[in-house]
Amino acid sequence: MFARTVASLAAIATFVAIDGAAAQTANQPPDTMAARVEACTPCHGNKGEGTSDVYFPRLAGKPAGYLYNQLLAFRSGRRKYPPMNYLLEFLPDPYLEAMAEYFASEHPPLPQPAPSEVSKDVLAQGELLATSGDANRNIPACVSCHGPELTGMQPGIPGLLGLRAAYVSAQLGAWRYGTRTAKSPDCMQLVAGHLTEADVTAVAAWLATRPAPTNPVPVPKGTYALPFGCGSQPN
């Protein structure tokens, strides 16, 4: 009799404990990365697919190492965009890494390529730069680093598809003027430094017209050799 009372009391106690725990979690935000990055999604889209704002880049599917490098650069102010610099200021490295991994592992479909506003000649010039470069002017082909399908390479080289022309030209401009820098040696600065205003317009416009590749995933590290060294891509 006595033993049973104790047993049933213990059972009740268990229920109370379960009940308490359930109430606790019900009252908490979901314990997921998706809930933790809700501060980012109005600008970057729920899965990092981008939004209608042409300056807000897609994040989804880019190599995690690349995204992490960008988050570190925004946190320290080396890459400038005040609303993001502010959000990240007091977040620790492992958390930024988790955010980078979260967006890298999302694969929403790439957007439809936008109809271009530039002439056929300009697009042809863009294509030439991207696929062959211009040896006379020391411009390597973009595909030599960003990959034959422009899908990027793990861990540090981003794909260049699914980005709007306005965003790509703003980034190339930022490198030319030194407001965006990457880990040294900053190979993108060398590349952008050799581009003229007209080159930037052309290559940005051509990239934005590209259809989605069959496999948009960045190729594994070491799939091909880079024409010269990049600090963001340890070998």
Partner: protein, 416 residues
């Protein structure tokens, strides 16, 4: 044979004691260094003396002031560009009396007006720690202050009005815990540097200590720590206060803006006893009596229109996290109902929260905080004013409505 053996044994014993003694002194030095490191955290020296992407304590961080830009000093033990040639006396003089070793006056941007309360023993420990870190050879940047503020003699006037030198004097009528909290808050914590009103001369008078004020240049309002209508913690539980200080979030509210920096760089590192002592003191200094409710500057018809638009904006954009009744999901999604920090007379902080969003600091106790999106690009001035007016007055909150103009002015507030 027997004799020799015992002599060797004696010698050995002597050696062991010598070794032990040596162990003890080096043990003691490393204890002092560790304590100094802890105290330097409590003083948040790094917030000012380490530049973004710069070396630890090498200085060079710009501090914008209404009088121009001040650059912080290199306080690493480099003998050419840092404080490598300083003695413990020199260092104590800087902390305690705001003077360089040659007697020159230090700008009060270095919080010596608070650090003067630090004991000699604690000052020595911080100095021992600073001597133990990596020296960095980096020249101090000259300040860029406008005439006449570039003349250090002006500091004399400031000192006469606002500086009183003196180590902390415990209040015998209060508990040891309260006194420890007071020592940390008034001294190393230099909480008063932000949480007191700053007058036109850039000073704070003793009688206004912890009464709250707008931080110049940053456009954040550091609330009063004594008034329960602001951030007075009189009716908070000790646990909520210690959670806020140690982890940056609590069931009553969260930290953001400059206070996120303080928790991130300093308060999260304090041990449980010291955190509790600060909480006991902070709870103790809150005023018992509630001052009269503030009155609104806006006409009532305008405010009732605003508030009904505000409810629409809120239900669409905010309720998913903060709840339809402002109940939130504490501590991660803070409650807005009965949250002092949005009801204060100054609406600067809630307006900026809506415009800029934010993350509480990542801390040991809360390493992956939840965030709030910035609404600057999503809502018009009128909608920002409306939603802030709504959260300040709904659910029994006793704040006042704000105007679209106030919202507009804060769009240009600096974000760093």
């Amino acid at each position: 044979m027997g004799l020799r053996l015992s002599i060797t044994l004696l010698a050995l014993a002597a050696l062991t004691t010598a070794v032990q003694a040596q162990d003890k002194t080096s043990d003691k030095t490393s204890d002092i260094i560790a304590r100094g490191e802890y105290l330097a955290r409590a003083g948040d020296c790094t917030a000012c003396h380490t530049a973004s992407e710069g070396r630890l304590f090498a200085g060079g961080r710009p501090m914008p002031t209404p009088f121009g830009t001040i650059y912080t000093s290199n306080i690493t033990p480099d003998s050419e560009t840092g404080i490598g040639k300083w003695s413990a006396d020199d260092f104590y003089r800087t902390m305690h009396n705001g003077r360089f070793p040659d007697g020159g006056l230090i700008y009060p941007a270095m919080p010596f007006a608070s650090y003067t309360k630090v004991t000699r023993a604690d000052s020595d420990a911080i100095f021992a720690y600073l001597r133990s870190i990596q020296p960095v050879n980096q020249k101090n940047k000259p300040h860029e202050l406008r005439f006449p503020y570039d003349n250090r003699q002006l500091i004399l006037g400031w000192r006469t009005l606002f500086f009183s030198e003196g180590e902390f004097k415990p209040d015998a009528s209060k508990s040891a815990e309260w006194n420890r909290g007071a020592y940390l808050v008034e001294g190393l914590g230099h909480c008063g540097m932000c949480h007191s009103p700053i007058n036109a001369l850039g000073g704070t008078s003793q009688s206004d200590a912890f009464k709250g004020g707008l931080i110049p240049m940053q456009n954040w309002y550091a609330p009063s720590l004594t008034s329960n209508r602001e951030a007075g913690l009189g009716d908070w539980s000790i646990k909520d206060i210690t959670d806020l200080l140690q982890t940056g979030v609590s069931t009553r509210g969260v930290v953001y803006g400059p206070m996120a920096e303080v928790v991130h760089n300093s308060l999260q590192y304090l041990n449980n006893e010291d955190t509790r002592a600060m909480a006991v003191y902070l709870k103790g200094i809150a005023e018992a009596s509630a001052p009269p409710p503030p009155s609104s500057a806006l006409p009532t018809t305008e405010s009732s229109l605003l508030i009904s638009l505000g409810k629409t904006v809120y239900d669409k954009n905010c309720a998913s996290c903060h709840g339809t009744q402002g109940e939130g999901r504490p501590p991660h999604w803070p409650p807005l109902a009965n949250n002092q920090s949005i009801e204060m007379q100054s609406a600067v902080n809630p307006i900026r929260m809506v415009l800029n969003g934010g993350y509480p600091p990542g801390t040991k106790g809360n390493p992956m905080p939840y965030g709030m999106p910035p609404f600057a690009g999503l809502l018009s001035d009128n909608e920002v004013a409306a939603v802030v007016s709504y959260i300040r007055t709904a659910w029994g909150n006793r704040g006042t409505p704000v105007s679209a103009r106030e919202a507009n002015e804060l769009r240009s507030a600096p974000l760093n």
